[in-house]
Symmetry: none
Subunit: 212 residues, 4 copies
């Protein structure tokens, strides 16, 4: 992200990033088209390359926003909360479902980074995102152990990983057609699609199993 981008009016900056996110979400990193990003963002090809060094830099910038968005929209409000672990995760899942309506592209991009196609880029791109999540879950588990919601003998990391896995599964279910199809196959019927809320509910059932 270049200086020229940082000094843009916030509105325009967000518009450009969300246009780029939309294109990356629809096509994945490699199949995404810089010209289409520009068109959707309402800027010239040249402008984009004034704002960002290259296609990869655009992708990375989206990730930075994504880290902030996911953290602030999912985790931030629960730091220091004294709600039950169950209640907190429930709300996180519900918030994620909301997020899927306003920022579906972010979730889609998240599913892209887990693909083997992104093995080259992903480690450097997604580390910060995962570290933030890990920190949150570990804290939550420790709190859960204090309140007795989580059994003492469970390893902190194992429980945290378990929670994060389920968050991941929900993200994939909300954003990836392959995962949506799987869910449909298990719980759906031909005439109705499984609602996002139902996806959250189904995964909460699994989550519950780690709680005593």
């Amino acid at each position: 992200m270049e200086h020229t981008f940082k000094i843009l009016p916030e509105e325009k900056r967000e518009f450009i990033l969300s246009a780029a996110a939309r294109v990356f979400a629809k096509n994945g990193y490699y199949h995404a088209n810089v010209a289409e990003i520009c068109k959707q963002a309402g800027i010239s090809n040249g402008a984009l390359y004034k704002y960002f060094k290259n296609k990869e830099a655009v992708y990375r910038s989206i990730f930075e926003v994504m880290v902030d968005t996911l953290h602030s929209r999912l985790f931030a409000k629960h730091v220091g909360s004294d709600a039950s672990v169950y209640e907190i995760i429930s709300e996180i899942f519900r918030d994620l479902v909301d997020l899927a309506r306003t920022h579906a592209d972010f979730l889609a991009i998240y599913t892209d980074v887990g693909s083997c196609a992104m093995n080259e880029l992903s480690p450097s791109v997604s580390r910060k995102l995962e570290e933030g999540a890990r920190g949150f879950w570990i804290d939550l588990v420790r709190k859960g152990k204090e309140t007795g919601e989580i059994k003492k003998h469970v390893m902190d990391e194992a429980a945290a990983y378990y929670f994060d896995n389920h968050l991941n599964l929900l993200i994939y279910s909300l954003a990836s057609r392959h995962f949506d199809m799987r869910l449909q196959m298990y719980f759906g019927s031909d005439d109705e699609k499984i609602a996002d809320e139902e996806k959250a509910r189904l995964l909460m059932k699994s989550v519950k199993m780690i709680l005593s």
Copy 2:
């Protein structure tokens, strides 16, 4: 897959498909290069287009082999088995770890199909694979309920979905650098990488929770 491909000697057929799989695994569908596939397969560019209608058809064919391979290497031997659910899943996970050594490419490609980049292709491509898995898990759950390993009140689909999710998580952990990095962050240290067997063990711990 064209008739010309079907009448090829089985050995050559497999060689071509595994070469293609290798390339798709390394780069993902869109970033994979048809010319490189041909080179690795030791055939001419023209030959590939005699054997397959286009790039997509090659990808689809690989999926067909993948379905068979995964089913026969992971599930087939346990159909009708009277081993415990726990034992069966353990063995499936162990077999998957073995598979990761001989057919790493298949697992990588599987992580590709879950990406948003593949939303256009994935439903038609992966349905059969998931249906096979679902059938197996549902049967296993029913058996588990009979033997008392799984509580009666648990919904068949929920438990099956739970098992399949964990299989998925293991596949992703074995094949995707992003998922490997996550695991490393939770359970690893700087100086040693988490072994594949350890990944299976960690996910088995989660699986166990659904078993009474």
Copy 3:
């Protein structure tokens, strides 16, 4: 230069190289346009990139041909000759004038490589060419000393360098408009251009000065 280029019919190969040379000669390396090269060569854009790794590789290939052409057309016939040094250089200059008619592009490209614009590329590109020339001149000087045409006390390298400098000046005069203008300014009149033969003659006069 790729294998695909080497196996082309010689006629086509030469046609492509001479088309490329024409474009490089007209515009210099950086201003030369790959698409125009393709058009002039009567091949598709893609074909060029099957034949050569990139624009630079095309340039380098032209140099290889140039080395051979210049050496065989200017120097080769005089190796082992027992003509006088003066006679030999005279003939080289006359041959160069002929070459300027059939291969003007080569000479133009040679003037390009001496420009500061080419400081990055030139050392690796032109070394072989200069080494060949140096070898020839040194031998000639030694012979000239034996026959008494060149005074013994003159350093071999100094005389060789002197000859090569004059060859260079002739090349530049034949190919570069800037050098042509200079000549015109010294020896020309408004209504008639200095003929190439006259350029050679004028520089021979300088060359003569080193001969006793």
Copy 4:
């Protein structure tokens, strides 16, 4: 060069021109980047286009300064001098070596204008420069004939051209890597680079040959 440029403080004007010269010297005319010129000159893109009609006009302006600089630094002090021709040329060569330290860019740009890439621009750009040089050399030759340093039968223009050619060769040797490499090949060794003073000395040896 527009009026707006002429009314700039001299210091700023020179700073801009020397920044532009630096960029042209490094990259040659076509490869030079207007934006980089602006950056190095510490002015805005827009400002440059207020000062100059276009890139070409900047280049031409540099040439004007170059003409003055070369003339005043190399030739001016010797007009009307009664030193020997040899002494004068020696000093010019020494001054050129000094100039190469303070105004290396000018010399580099001079090598650019001799390239075929500049055939379109060069005649109109460099005429004045060459005319100045020619005038000086012709006068010097005439004086040399009077003092007997140069033989009477030598044509004025031929001698003048000879001197100018050697000045040219020295400029190229000082500024172009290709010419530096040539020199190195003739007179250098692997472990030490030929110093600029040595280059001047070597070419003086050739110059001497025209002096009786």
